[in-house]
Every structure is written in C-alpha cells, then in structure tokens.
C-alpha cells in the first residue's frame, strides 16, 4: 500500500468525514498526500537520517484511547490528550470570560473554521516544504488550538499534556496551533510522553503566531520512549515588537529529529531559544535551532546545551539567517555539548548565513568532556563520582534550566535529567 492507493485515500476520507472536517480541509489533506512521495526530507546538516522511516504508510484509523487516571491534581488550565482522544480541558473561568479559546483542533475546525483556515499551516509552517510537513498535513490525527485575544494577558501558564498511545500501532501526528493576538501574553508548557510499548512514529508540530506586541513563552519537555521515532517541528512567526521565548528540554530516548525555528518577521521582534538535549544508549538525535532575522532591529538568541551518554549521537545545529534588509539585526548563538562517554559522537555547529551588512552576529561552540579538575574538587569533599558528575552536568545545563517558566517545571526537568543520567551512567 502507498499514499496514493485508492484504498488508503478512502480510509483517510472516512476518517475525515467522521470528524466532520470541512471540504477545504479535506482538499488540503488530499493535496498534501499527493505530494509526500515527491518531496524530499528536511535537511539537518551533519546528521544522516535518510534511511529512517519517518513517513510510514499506516492505514489511518480513528481510535478512542482509554483514559487511565492521569493524576488527581486539581490545578487549573490543564489540557490532556492521549492519542487521538482529548481527555480533559480544565480552564479557569476567568480565562473563559476573557474570550480565550482552548480546544481540540477538530472542534476548532467546526467552531472557528475561519481562524484555522487563516493560520493552520498557512503562516508559520507550509505543507509543501518537505516530505514530513506534507505527511503531517495529510495525516494529522490530533491537535489543539489556542487563541489569546488582543490585550489578554494570562498570568497562569497553560499546561498541555500530550500522551502518545503506544498500546496500538498508529502514529501520533499532532498539531498545536497557538495564536497570540496583538498585545496578548501567554505561557504554554507542553509535556510529551507515551504509554504502551508498540513501536510508533511521532510527528508533532507547534505553530506559534505571535502578533504585534505579544509575548509568548513556549516551554516543552519531551520524554518520548525508545520505541518512538520522532520528528518535532516547532516554529514561531513573530510580529512587530513581539517576543517569543523557547525553553525546550529534548529528553526523548528514541531516534529524534527536531527543527525549532523563530521567524523574526516584524520590526524589533525578539526570540530567545534555549534548548537542552540528552542522548542515551544507541540513540541518534539531530536538532536544528534556527532564527531568521527578516525585520529591522530584530534580536534572536540561541543557547543550546547537549549531554551525550553511552554510544549515542547528538548533532546540534544553530542556524542564524539574517535576510538582506534586516538593518540593525542582532543574532547570537552558543552551542555546547558535553561527552560523558568516549563512544558517543557529538557535534555543535554554528551556521551563520548573513545577507546584510548592518548587523551584529556572534557565535560560540564547544564539544568537551567533563572537567577533571571540577570532578576532583567535588570528590575531594566526599561526593562520589556519579553524583559529582551529575552536579557538574547540572551546572553545565544551568543557563537553560533557569529559563524554564516556573519552579515546578524546573524541578521536574531537573528530576527527569537526573533519572536519565543515572540510567545512562549505569552502563558507562
């Protein structure tokens, strides 16, 4: 079976009908479907993943996931999705009163078709960019739409828990669309995990549309298991004087490619991308973190920190692209990886593409081992080698952890990192 088989298209159509998708949306899927095979894979410099099956042909099926008890916490503003099922959307009444929209993507398609048509794969990411974006557009099977109206400033973060259902064979093709209208503010925290032990694909996209004077802090902790092969594409389009902060902890255990991008479109738009990645076992991960300065006096910063254990491979590319005409633009990046094993392979590549003279741009990159003097110092105080190593690593990751939006998320990130390190250290 392939994507253009009548039977496959019919299965997809059935799924689309059962979700009551509008005709234009179905046509968009169909068009993308016809392009999958002819488009090429995205490019991650210095990272070879061309034999990965990232666009698997699997009969599309609607599937209701059983909601095991998630947790009993009564905290508000929590959205939980498992597989294709939305389990909970608990919002503060005050948020609802302000006209904020938080809903699953298929409900949004029926209730707010104009908004979806305007923003979905139409301003940040385009379906025809490459094989994986077209695959996503054709087969998207779960998602969330968030709309923050003008001047609405949310103090509490929106917490989104996305659980891939690996109890059956079906990829998770998830789309999170966040539109922050002018002068609005929002913090979104996503946690990506999985339940079950089927081998599955995960193709997750985030589009952030940050309009004039808005502020968006997007934070993600990715913890997909070894059995999940994942493609993460997160992109923000940032308008005049708008600001987008990214704080990302890429802690997947399976093969992962990721593309985190900020398009600084407006004048004086700003973005700050902080990314941590830890690779373990025989995992391979390739990450592009990109900033494109288009608008005048735009500022884009990238800070990346990677830790490699065992036989893993991790490639960090920091891509700074300053477009001709972006006078006074500023692009800084710092990419550092730490190798905890001599069998690991790490890369930290700054890639600067500058087509404008009147700019400030800088970069720093390093690939290093744990500092022996620091280890000796800590151990001379009675701290055992694995604990000392974890302290040194935590120090190395400090600048990114400190950027996480709230203390409980920082704590959770530190705990997850510790757990991953302890597991990885066992085998070293």
């Amino acid at each position: 079976m392939n994507f253009n088989d009548v039977e496959f298209i019919q299965d997809l159509k059935t799924m689309s009908d059962r979700r009551h998708e509008p005709q234009w949306f179905w046509e968009q899927r169909q068009k993308a479907l016809s392009q999958i095979s002819s488009l090429s894979l995205p490019e991650i410099p210095q990272f070879d993943f061309y034999d990965w099956q990232l666009a698997e042909v699997i009969k599309p099926q609607l599937h209701e996931s059983i909601s095991s008890k998630i947790s009993n916490d009564k905290s508000l503003n929590v959205i939980v999705q498992k597989g294709q099922t939305t389990i909970a959307i608990d919002l503060d009444q005050e948020i609802k009163n302000q006209g904020v929209i938080v809903t699953d993507i298929f409900t949004a398609l029926q209730k707010y078709p104009d908004l979806i048509k305007k923003y979905y794969l139409n301003q940040a990411i385009r379906a025809n960019e490459d094989r994986l974006t077209s695959y996503h557009c054709a087969l998207m099977n779960s998602g969330i739409f968030i709309y923050i109206p003008q001047h609405v400033k949310l103090k509490q973060p929106l917490m989104i828990k996305i659980i891939q259902d690996n109890t059956f064979k079906q990829p998770l093709i998830h789309h999170l669309l966040v539109v922050a209208a002018s002068a609005s503010q929002v913090t979104v925290i996503t946690q990506l995990t999985a339940q079950g032990d089927q081998k599955n694909l995960s193709n997750c996209m985030v589009e952030v549309i940050a309009q004039t004077d808005s502020k968006v802090h997007f934070s993600a902790i990715d913890e997909l298991p070894e059995s999940t092969m994942s493609y993460l594409n997160r992109r923000a389009v940032i308008g005049d004087r708008a600001q987008v902060e990214w704080s990302i902890g890429m802690l997947n255990s399976g093969p992962t490619i990721a593309d985190f991008a900020s398009e600084l479109e407006g004048r004086e738009a700003q973005s700050n991308a902080k990314v941590i990645a830890i690779s373990t076992g025989s995992q391979r991960a390739g990450i592009n973190t990109r900033v494109t300065n288009r608008g005048q006096r735009t500022i884009g910063n990238i800070v990346q920190r990677g830790i490699l254990l065992e036989q893993s491979q991790l490639t960090f590319n920091g891509i700074g692209h300053i477009i001709h005409g972006a006078h006074g633009a500023n692009a800084e990046q710092e990419n550092r990886v730490l190798m905890l094993s001599d069998q690991a392979r790490g890369d930290a590549n700054p890639i600067l593409l500058i087509d404008e003279n009147d700019v400030l741009a800088g970069h720093a990159a390093s690939v290093s081992q744990v500092d022996e003097e620091q280890m000796y110092y800590l151990m001379s105080r009675g701290i055992d080698a694995p604990t000392a190593q974890r302290l040194v690593i935590r120090g190395f990751l400090g600048p990114v952890i400190a950027g996480m939006p709230d203390n409980s998320i920082q704590r959770q990130l530190i705990d997850t990192i510790e757990r991953k390190l302890i597991n990885g250290q066992k085998y070293n």
Binding site: L378, R381, T387
Partner: protein
C-alpha cells in the same frame, strides 16, 4: 585518637615537554606522622614538593606513588579513590579551588556533608542552616556567598574563606591546608586563622603548608617540619619556624650540609 602516617613516600609526576614524556621524582622519601589533637606545619622553599605531598595524600591521580605508603589509622589508603579518602576523614583546602557554575555553595555543602552520612542520618535543612549561619559569622562572610555558584567569580580571598567554611561544615579528622595564606591581607589571614583554631580539639589534626612563618603566629603549630629536595630535613617546635624566618632556607641548608638547589636561588 586517629593517626595519619606517611611512610617513605616517593612520588613522581609525568609531564609532557616538546612531545616527550618526562618523569620527575618530586618526593624522595617523606616520613611523617600526624595524630588528631596536633597541628603540624610544613615549610619549605618553592618547588620542594609541599603541594605534591598534600595532593598525593588526597589522591590526585596526576601524582604517582613509586614507593612507600600512606596509612590512616593503620590502614593503607593508596587503593582508595579521592571521594572515599574524604569520607574516611581527610580534607584538602586547595590552593586553586575549582569553579563550578550552576551549583550553589549551599547546595554543594549539604551534598558534601550528607555524602559522609548514612541515608538514615542525613542532615536536615534546619540543622544545616543553623550550622551554616554560625560558621559564616565566625568567618565574617556574607550570607549571600552561600547562594552564589560554587567559587564562581570569587576573589582570591573569598575562595580561601570558602575553603575554610567547607572545613568547618564538613568537620574532617585531618585537614591538609595548602597555602591558605597566599594572597590574603592581614585581616583576612586572621579570620582564616580564627576558623582553623576553632577546629582545634582532640578529634582534629591538621597539616599546614606555608611559605611564610607569618601564618604560624596566628595558628601556632605543635610541630614544624622543614621540607627540602622532596623530603623532610628537619623537625622541631614552633621556634623552628621563627629561626627559619631569620636564617632563610639557604642558611638552614648550609647548616645541615645538604646538597640541594633552591629553585628561586639567584
């Protein structure tokens, strides 16, 4: 009473010079016994192996023991890694402490204290803070020092005080103090000495390494050893340090009839 015994210790260091590995013997047979309740001082000219001795006792892997032994309470510690030696009661106040960003001083101190305690007997937050406040006061240190990252951006003097703060918090049986007086003004020197003196009791012994007699006016040692050419050439009481201050190392060398080149000799 506890005992740290150094027996006929020979140590060499391998350095790379112009692509060639050159092995040099630094310690040429050191004998020394320190008991808890005693403060010993080692004085000696530059390049004579004082720091090598302290680093070797702590277990720094850059120093290779070719002969001899180090015994703690009668048991050899040569096979113990650095952290185990520390947990057995040794402490080295370093001349050049490492800087570690992202870990606060307070967090580090608690981790270090609890590393030598059983999981049932961990020091609680309240007890820790009380102890910390007391020692900060003693050392005339600002509370904000504990929330700063470990040694990061500390001045030379702040680093030395921070080493002594760790000493007071960790409470080892034996402290090796490697040139804790270097780079300190007289006020800071007195504070550091006050910290060390507060540790003086029957459960604590120290080996103070210094160039100058001045520190020993504030921390009066029970025994003074003079080290030259990689071994101890003379031992005595606190008066020996004063005599040395007057005569210099060259004078002592000639008096003892030793054939040793002094590094800084013109």
């Amino acid at each position: 009473m506890k005992e740290l015994q150094i027996k006929n210790l020979h140590v060499s260091v391998t350095t790379e010079e112009q692509g060639q590995n050159i092995t040099k013997e630094i310690l040429t047979g050191v004998n020394l016994t320190i008991k808890t309740g005693e403060i010993h001082a080692i004085m000696g000219p530059n390049g004579t192996g004082k720091s090598t001795l302290s680093q070797t006792i702590m277990g720094n892997s850059a120093y290779h023991i070719t002969k001899g032994d180090i015994l703690l309470n009668g048991n050899s510690i040569l096979d113990m890694p650095v952290d185990e030696r520390a947990r057995q009661g040794l402490f080295l106040a370093m001349q050049y402490p490492a800087e570690i960003q992202g870990i606060t001083n307070a967090e580090f101190l608690r981790t270090a204290i609890n590393a030598r305690r059983s999981s049932k007997n961990q020091m609680g937050v309240r007890e820790f803070i009380q102890e910390l406040d007391k020692n900060l006061k003693l050392l005339d240190m600002n509370e904000s020092m504990t929330e700063r990252y470990l040694n990061e951006g500390f001045s030379g003097g702040e680093k030395k005080r921070n080493e002594i703060l760790q000493l007071l918090m960790i409470k080892p049986n034996f402290a090796l103090l490697d040139e804790i007086d270097s780079g300190l003004d007289i006020d800071a020197l007195q504070v550091v000495a006050k910290g060390v003196n507060s540790m003086r009791n029957q459960e604590f012994g120290a080996l103070i390494i210094t160039h100058y007699q001045r520190l020993l006016n504030y921390i009066v040692p029970d025994v003074v050893h003079i080290m030259m050419g990689g071994k101890i050439v003379k031992s005595g009481d606190a008066e020996l340090a004063k005599k040395l201050e007057n005569e210099g190392y060259a004078g002592l060398r000639d008096e003892l009839g030793l054939d040793i080149d002094l590094v800084d000799e013109a």
